[in-house]
């Protein structure tokens, strides 16, 4: 199957081994400590010295969340089109081809079936290294398909978001993915299936302003940048310095926007717990939810 092919191609082309700079040692991007690369990978890309959460490759994320051997890819059959013939300093089509080749997948998301501590879920993980995790038609379509299939298969949906926002090379069609993903999530809501969103560094723009913040429960990773408008845009608009910690996960927790900041090491456990709890209801005779409820 084509989608499996796409997924399998990913490992040889770019797995954990290509995601961090080559060499035995890497530098923590926060405290600049020299870290033994294998240690960093083993520690889920969290710096042992300062606890900083480095960005994490998709395969490692899936491995960290899915019970061993439980992940079955769904995504991969949907491929992007240069619908606008978009050209800036380089044609979008060419840029896409290069990134696809490097990433070993057609676009910036991987979805599939998985178990998380036994809980049956659909898992969607965005790839920030693929054109900044930007959302074009394919990202929107894969999320919509995952939500629909999760609904059919009575699975909860877990979304690991990481994105620079909408993919401007697809113009207004990329904007429309905000609505497309949102309406597709109704397949979960109407069946009372939990949707848990995990915001990782960075989650911005049209992704934050659509499916990523519509989780029944929203967790964020420590220090993750989460925003609608990026800090640089705001600074240019208001010509002022931004407050310390602005738009970071801990800041948003104080502002009431997320349910909790969850360190990576605790994430799997926490996801399993809340999904288990949200599925342990049945307090009242369920009945289909009416439209609008």
């Amino acid at each position: 199957m084509a989608l499996e092919r796409w997924f399998r191609r990913q490992r040889p082309t770019r797995g954990d081994d290509d995601a961090t700079p080559a060499g035995l040692w890497v530098k923590c991007s926060a405290c600049h400590a020299q870290l033994y690369r294998k240690d960093l990978v083993a520690h889920l890309y969290v710096c042992k010295e300062c606890g900083h959460h480095e960005r994490m490759p998709v395969a490692a994320r899936i491995a960290m969340l899915a019970d061993e051997g439980s992940f079955e890819p769904w995504s991969g059959a949907v491929r992007p089109v240069d619908a606008l013939g978009f050209v800036d300093v380089e044609p979008y089509a060419e840029r896409l081809a290069a990134v696809q080749h490097k990433a070993g997948r057609p676009d910036a998301i991987v979805t599939g079936a998985a178990r998380i501590e036994g809980e049956r879920v659909a898992l969607a993980v965005m790839d920030f290294q693929f054109l900044g995790g930007s959302m074009g038609s394919v990202v929107g379509e894969e999320i919509a398909r995952a939500a629909e299939r999760a609904g059919e298969e009575e699975r909860a949906l877990v979304m690991v978001a990481a994105s620079g926002g909408a993919r401007m090379q697809e113009g207004a069609l990329s904007l429309m993915q905000m609505a497309k993903t949102t309406v597709a999530l109704e397949h979960l809501a109407s069946r009372r299936l939990p949707y848990v969103s995990v915001l990782t560094d960075p989650t911005t723009g049209g992704v934050t302003a659509s499916f990523a913040t519509l989780g029944d429960v929203i967790f964020a990773e420590p220090d993750a940048l989460i925003c609608f408008a990026g800090p640089r845009v705001i600074q240019q608009t208001i010509k002022q310095d931004l407050p310390a910690g602005f738009q970071r996960a801990e800041f948003l927790l104080r502002k009431g926007m997320i349910d909790d900041v969850v360190p990576r090491g605790e994430l799997k456990r926490r996801l399993a717990t809340v999904i288990g709890l949200l599925r342990a209801g049945g307090a009242a005779a369920p009945g289909a939810l009416p439209a609008g409820a």
């Binding site: 429960v217 502002k255 005779a285």
Partner: protein, 318 residues
Amino acid sequence: MALPFEKPIEDLEAKIREMQAYADEQQVDLAEEISLLEQRLERLKRETFAHLTRWQRVLVARASGRPTALDHVAAFVDDFVELHGDRALGDDPALVAGLGRVDGAGVVVLAQQKGRDTKENIHRNFGMAHPSGYRKAMRMMEMADKFGLAVVALIDTPGAYPGIAAEEQGQAWVIAESIRRMSRLRVPAVAVVVGEGGSGGALAIGVANRVLILENAVYSVISPESCAAIRWRDAAEAPRAAEALKLTSADLLEQGVVDEVVAEPLGGAHKDPAAAVAATAAAVRAALASLRGLGEQEIVRARAERFRHMGRVLVDSA
């Protein structure tokens, strides 16, 4: 630390301890004398607590060492996960919300939390919620409704916070909305007044199918102090105001405001927190069990009926 009327009890307890220590030290057998004293202590406690004035109940309801809402939660909720934030204004530590499990079934927990010490009290704003607390509660009610989770609300607040920001952010509006939101829940809701049930700030999470109250908890439209300040123009008349307000568990049961009184260990919950939280746990479990199996419409209807008939009036025949 002791409440005024607890002095004789504490004195007697001290005497028993002293005698016990003397017996141990001197290797003499005072078992009979001690036993007699312990019987006397039991009698004294029983009599004291049987005849507490309403104001004294208020003092017990506020006593330091009394189990807080989260102490009760810890006793009957498994896998408790606190969820934060109202998605609008902030996250209010005075009203804790989360998911958990009671007898295996998922529930939404709402808990008005006072502090166990000064530091926590300041953090919790003495259990007085801001609008963001009630907004968080409403968000959790939505979640309960969506996923068919029963709601358990633990009430312990002097009232909603009276401050500038609270008013600016629509304290009255969120209380009204929370009352309405809770009245629309299609899932069973159980509320327990575990300490102070202070006015609208308490009722905002009190529109439940079953409303329980701990034996020495109080539930009132206004604090005795404020009532006294208004009606007697002297806050020191709080004891008289407490009498007039009829705010004890027995009063409220008689008025039909609560459905059930949860007995506290002799001497009050603060004297034996473990026994107190165990009693609450059993009562909540039983209340939830009694609501199991009802349909959504029946749950909404029964709750509405419960509150529709609150109050006493005379009606002229036409």
